[in-house]
Symmetry: C2
Subunit: 335 residues, 2 copies
Amino acid sequence: MKIAVDVISGDNPPEELISGVCHYISKYKDSVIIIGDEERIKKKLLLHPYERRYIDIVHTTEIITMNESPAEAYRKKKNASVILAAQLVASKEATGFFSPGNTGAALAAALFEIGKIKNVSRPAIAAVLPNIKSSTILIDAGANTECKPHFLVEFALMADVFCKKVLKLENPRVGILSNGEEDEKGSDFTKKVFELMKDIPMHFIGNVEGYDLFNGSVDIVVTDGFTGNIALKTAEGVSKTVFTLLKNEIQKSIFSKIGALFLKDNFKNLKKKLDANEYGGAPLLGIDGNVIIGHGSANAKATFNALRTLRFMDQFNLNKEIESAFSKLPETSDS
Amino acid sequence: MKIAVDVISGDNPPEELISGVCHYISKYKDSVIIIGDEERIKKKLLLHPYERRYIDIVHTTEIITMNESPAEAYRKKKNASVILAAQLVASKEATGFFSPGNTGAALAAALFEIGKIKNVSRPAIAAVLPNIKSSTILIDAGANTECKPHFLVEFALMADVFCKKVLKLENPRVGILSNGEEDEKGSDFTKKVFELMKDIPMHFIGNVEGYDLFNGSVDIVVTDGFTGNIALKTAEGVSKTVFTLLKNEIQKSIFSKIGALFLKDNFKNLKKKLDANEYGGAPLLGIDGNVIIGHGSANAKATFNALRTLRFMDQFNLNKEIESAFSKLPETSDS
């Protein structure tokens, strides 16, 4: 079992991500292929003689940056780290890859180098959001701007398998993101999805609202990639704003600063609960190989967590299970 | 200048909302028509002999509850407080109305009793969201689930007039809620809106993302009512979750409780900044009368703030200004 890690596409220096890789190896004794500047990687690994034996290096210094157009960059930058990572999975040298940074580039690399699981219409991004009790999966968090109703049924089914096999959740509750909880609420589009969902063997609980992403009342929230992306970024924006306003409040007086000292560990816990790095990144489901797309800000912890999730995805045969679930789906007229 | 206030449709007792009315009258010496249970209103007003002179009462005890289907309730409950409020505006006995609670019912009452401003295709809900610096308007926050591209141009224009005339913002920045900031990002639908927006005399800054609702980089965010509703409720959900998690953290030890005591005023400030009641409610723009729809949880402060905003909407001739702005719009093929 080998996992490929692109350590140069994120905002953090490669050394930070390599620390995460080494932590993972010391814990799981798994082999990892690191993609990046060979000299720099080797230098960093001098400090990790034990882990060094588990690591192969694929050299490149070419990256697709956050602001590049994925389609264009994918055509032009044949040695980009994320593309090399996907190729290692396509050639079966690795079972999965992790790349932080440009989501569109990771999506293009996965789709064109590796390809989809049989019968899957579109791969989708499953964002794992913290909620008051544990976590909720939002799918699609941004891969497919335009969707047909049956795509959303497929997204739900992939997330259902992921929850059951990887997160070990017995009977995940699935809801459609809508503008009201009642069955008759929703857009023309979500109403069509609602009709299709009723026929699928899942624990479908109907429409859910924006609030429900965080109150623990639903495990999988299904939506198109446009709406999902907006919900995800709105959530990140609010969370960041609350912390900024809190920070401003704390700076106001000596009393508030003292209070904050007493609450230091609690603020840390709170931040940890809401931290994107706690989840490593978002699994891209529907690709015939395991893929996790990391936040641009992915650090050592995110890298460790992503590798651990990729390990579970492989260990529990996620994609075989998805393929099997899809073979039982009723046929649709288009893909 | 008279404003109608429905004090019985919200979650709070009418006495709470009447307190807000009395506070408003003592400050602005304006006349208000209170709609609700006459006996209960009169009893409460015994404590407010000065304000009593400024108040007319329209008696009803019929309400449309939060969970009722607006269309059905509108047909059946002819004496519902929100309908009587809208009728007072339609008959010009009041310049505007405030009703907390069932948004769909307030929308139906406004639309069918009062009607739209000339040339406006659809009224839209303008939610005023707190941001790191001041506030951002999200329009449409839920009135129109299905939209045509030119509706969004109209929403933006109405919010633009509201910002300039009522909030006294000189040159409000207008953005389209999208899944990326680049001009080429967006759904097929938002791309059409983008093309139309370029020709309208507004400070159009292009696409904005979920984050931008709260970072102060844009004043008006335009979207369809489905997406807007999801963004709004996601934001409310995250904000509530952060406070719940923080509360749980504070309960953990005697140290954290002491810290929280030191930060008591700061937490209060923070809550105030994020409190829906600080804004009184969401103006419903495009109706030929002034309308503010309050949160179900609207309290005395929300009522006071809503009345003050309704006063400004009247004083600055908001609807005449909207009508004038619309008369300069290029003609569209449908409405």
